[in-house]
């Protein structure tokens, strides 16, 4: 018997009460219906409420947030942010169509496209979603917004459309299923709440550890 079959047989002998058919049916029903459990009230509310809670929570974990009313203002906002952080006016982005269309020349920014390289100081990505209840950004992998952009540069700027700010993780799961299909996931889904940190030496919180030092979220209303 293979290790696999032996392990499964052993587990089955411990948990089965001769009711395998019923157990299998219970598992498949649960997987197919993936019911929601209790969802905390904190994030639930109208657009303004979700935007406010998201902002408060993100700031509480060390991220910064600004709101623009027009997506075409993003290059300018990003350029300002880099200048105020004493960083060169250079950004790395993926092939995301919404980001590609922005008037980058307005911000006098130098833009590179692709996955992050070791020398990149700052990146910009477009979020798949935001979650108000914990101030969390959700990113999906792929050429549009490569995963390395979330981790290698010291500054990570995120464009988040207000319509994509959900109350809870569960609403983001629904959007994932809508886009990628039931039971199917992109290679990586990153849930990010603020810049990298560690408390491993005498429980003193230090930023950054291995990821970005700063996370700046530009919310587009």
């Amino acid at each position: 018997m293979s290790s696999r079959d032996a392990m499964l047989a052993r587990i089955r002998s411990k948990v089965s009460k001769g009711n395998d058919e019923a157990r299998r049916a219970a598992v498949d029903a649960h997987l197919a219906s993936h019911p929601r459990n209790l969802i905390p009230a904190r994030g639930i509310g109208d657009d303004e409420h979700r935007l406010r809670v998201f902002t408060e929570m993100m700031q509480a974990v060390g991220g910064s947030v600004e709101v623009v009313n027009d997506i075409n203002d993003v290059p300018h906002a990003a350029a300002d942010y880099l200048r105020n952080s004493n960083l060169p006016a250079q950004l790395r982005r993926g092939q995301d169509a919404v980001l590609a269309k922005l008037p980058w020349h307005r911000g006098t920014l130098e833009i590179a496209v692709g996955r992050a390289e070791e020398s990149d100081r700052a990146s910009i990505t477009r979020a798949f979603a935001g979650v108000a209840e914990s101030g969390t950004i959700i990113q999906t992998s792929g050429q549009d917004n490569p995963t390395t952009l979330n981790f290698l540069p010291e500054v990570h700027i995120v464009v988040l459309e207000a319509a994509n700010i959900f109350a809870s993780y569960e609403e983001a799961w629904s959007k994932l299923r809508g886009q990628f299909g039931e039971g199917t996931m992109p290679r990586t889904v990153n849930m990010i709440s603020g810049p990298s940190r560690t408390g491993d030496i005498e429980q003193t919180i230090v930023r950054p550890a291995h990821g970005p030092k700063n996370m700046h979220v530009i919310i587009v209303r």
């Binding site: 499964l8 948990v15 459990n37 996955r115 996931m185 990586t188």
Partner: protein, 471 residues
């Protein structure tokens, strides 16, 4: 890894006499406790989420064979490979083989307790592969060749001074006159040293907090971002996880994630929660080309269907350690194996055998705090009691304890004799305290009183007071 859990009493004496350790541990428990209670108070639904989390895991354990099959099918459908390891030895061999096939020389590692459990690093080293821990705490103990002393804060037993000394010893290529007085300077140095390793590595090993059956996804939770660089940059990503990490759906994962970080560090959510499914897809500019999951049993299935099954609900948050008076006094190393604290005292006997861990079920004051704070509502004190019973049944306790208990049982069954005995003992102890209420030493209990005073009995015995109140 060899367990020294059998020498727990000796380990404790050493720990209590270790002034560096005692200094490092002073603030640890209270700080963790405060953070958790602030996070709990900020979420009115917290206790209801604990109930649901418990129910989710109970459902999984009752259907574990089927969920594992569903999970495996999903991993394969997304282009990943699943390896089944009944023992630590099998898991080590499988990981080594994957590394060899990839011609790996350097392997970066995210934090994984399973890796500690199977002693992966020594095995890789013995076979010419350099493992590099990237979680700061794990890196610190790796360069000291130690084990973690806490489930989520592996280096919590170290002081800043020790870290500085270790870095000067380990990073000899750096300027010996550099200033490392401040903690941020130490963190910055680790970041720079490890950044290079992410790019050099041929394979990255991570643990998993959860495996999602619905999608074939593994989840890691970190604050540093080290796990993400570990699994994104090398060609091969290897996940090691034990059988009980399964949760059914994304929704179920979300529920348990809501109690995990709050119980662990008092955060609402950890900085990085990452869901990984298979290798890089067509057109992906980054991510690993191969994705492997090694699923480990290593004794866990022994407790399925027994009075110990509930321990498999554990999500390794560390809350029971942080709230344990014994853990906070002696630190994690005294427990002698990989998992310390109350959950360690419950899990270790199951995984290494009660005969190799026979003192651990006694490493408890039965104050009940661990069960009170456990997000998965694991009845830890009850399980410790079960182990004590097993230990007693199997005659693993020293003759003096067995004899003493038999004597106590004899007296306890004869109320008059018992009351007489306790009244005498209380009076003798009270006199020894000379009215100060503290005893500097107690006959036959010097192991206790060397490091703390024993409260002298004040006044009457419980039974005397009970009788008086009943009147």
């Amino acid at each position: 890894m060899e367990a020294s859990a059998a020498t727990f009493p000796a380990n404790v004496i050493k720990a209590l006499a270790d002034s560096q350790l005692q200094y490092a541990m002073t603030e640890t428990g209270p700080r963790f406790q405060t953070k958790r209670s602030v996070a709990r108070d900020a979420l009115p639904e917290f206790d209801a989420l604990r109930d649901q989390s418990r129910d989710i895991k109970n459902h999984v354990l009752d259907h574990l064979d089927i969920y594992l099959e569903r999970y495996e099918a999903k991993v394969q459908a997304s282009g990943g490979h699943v390896h089944w390891a009944a023992t630590a030895e099998e898991a080590r061999a499988q990981i080594l083989e994957i590394c060899r096939k990839a011609n790996a020389r350097v392997v970066t590692k995210g934090k994984s307790m399973i890796s500690e459990e199977i002693d992966l690093n020594h095995h890789l080293e013995a076979n010419g592969i350099q493992p590099v821990e990237t979680d700061l705490g794990e890196y610190l103990i790796q360069i000291r060749n130690e084990r973690p002393s806490h489930i989520i804060a592996p280096a919590v037993h170290l002081t800043r001074d020790q870290v500085e000394a270790d870095f000067r010893k380990a990073h000899t290529h750096l300027d010996p006159n550099r200033d490392l007085t401040e903690i941020p300077a130490l963190v910055e140095e680790a970041r720079t040293v490890l950044r290079q390793k992410y790019f050099e590595a041929d394979a990255g090993v991570t643990g998993a907090n959860f495996l999602i059956a619905e999608t074939g996804t593994s989840i890691i939770v970190t604050n540093e971002g080290n796990g993400d660089l570990t699994q994104t940059l090398p060609k091969v990503h290897i996940v090691i996880a034990s059988i009980e990490k399964i949760v059914p759906t994304l929704e179920d994962a979300a529920t348990i994630l809501r109690v995990l970080a709050r119980s662990a560090t008092g955060q609402d959510f950890s900085n990085y929660t990452t869901l990984s499914t298979g290798p890089r897809r067509d057109g992906d500019p980054d991510g690993p080309e191969e994705y492997h999951v090694v699923i480990l049993d290593n004794g866990r299935s022994n407790v399925l269907g027994t009075e110990f099954q509930d321990m498999l609900r554990c999500i390794r948050c560390g809350a029971c350690l942080n709230h344990c008076p014994v853990y906070n006094a002696v630190g994690g190393h005294a427990y002698g194996w990989v998992y310390p604290g109350p959950i360690g005292s419950v899990v270790t006997p199951a995984l290494v055998g009660i005969e190799n861990a026979k003192h651990l079920p006694n490493a408890s004051t039965f104050c009940g705090r661990c069960e009170e704070v456990c997000p998965m509502r694991i009845p830890l004190p009850k399980m410790l009691r079960h182990w004590r019973e097993k230990e007693f049944e199997r005659h693993l306790q020293p003759a003096s304890i067995r004899w003493g208990l038999r004597f106590w049982a004899f007296a306890a069954k004869r109320p008059k004799l018992y009351q007489f005995g306790t009244r005498i003992a209380a009076r003798v102890l009270a006199n020894m305290g000379h009215g100060k209420g503290r005893l500097r030493n107690v006959p036959l209990a010097s192991g206790w009183t060397k490091y703390r005073d024993f409260p002298a009995p004040q006044g009457k015995t419980f039974q005397q007071m009970w009788k008086e109140r009943a009147k």
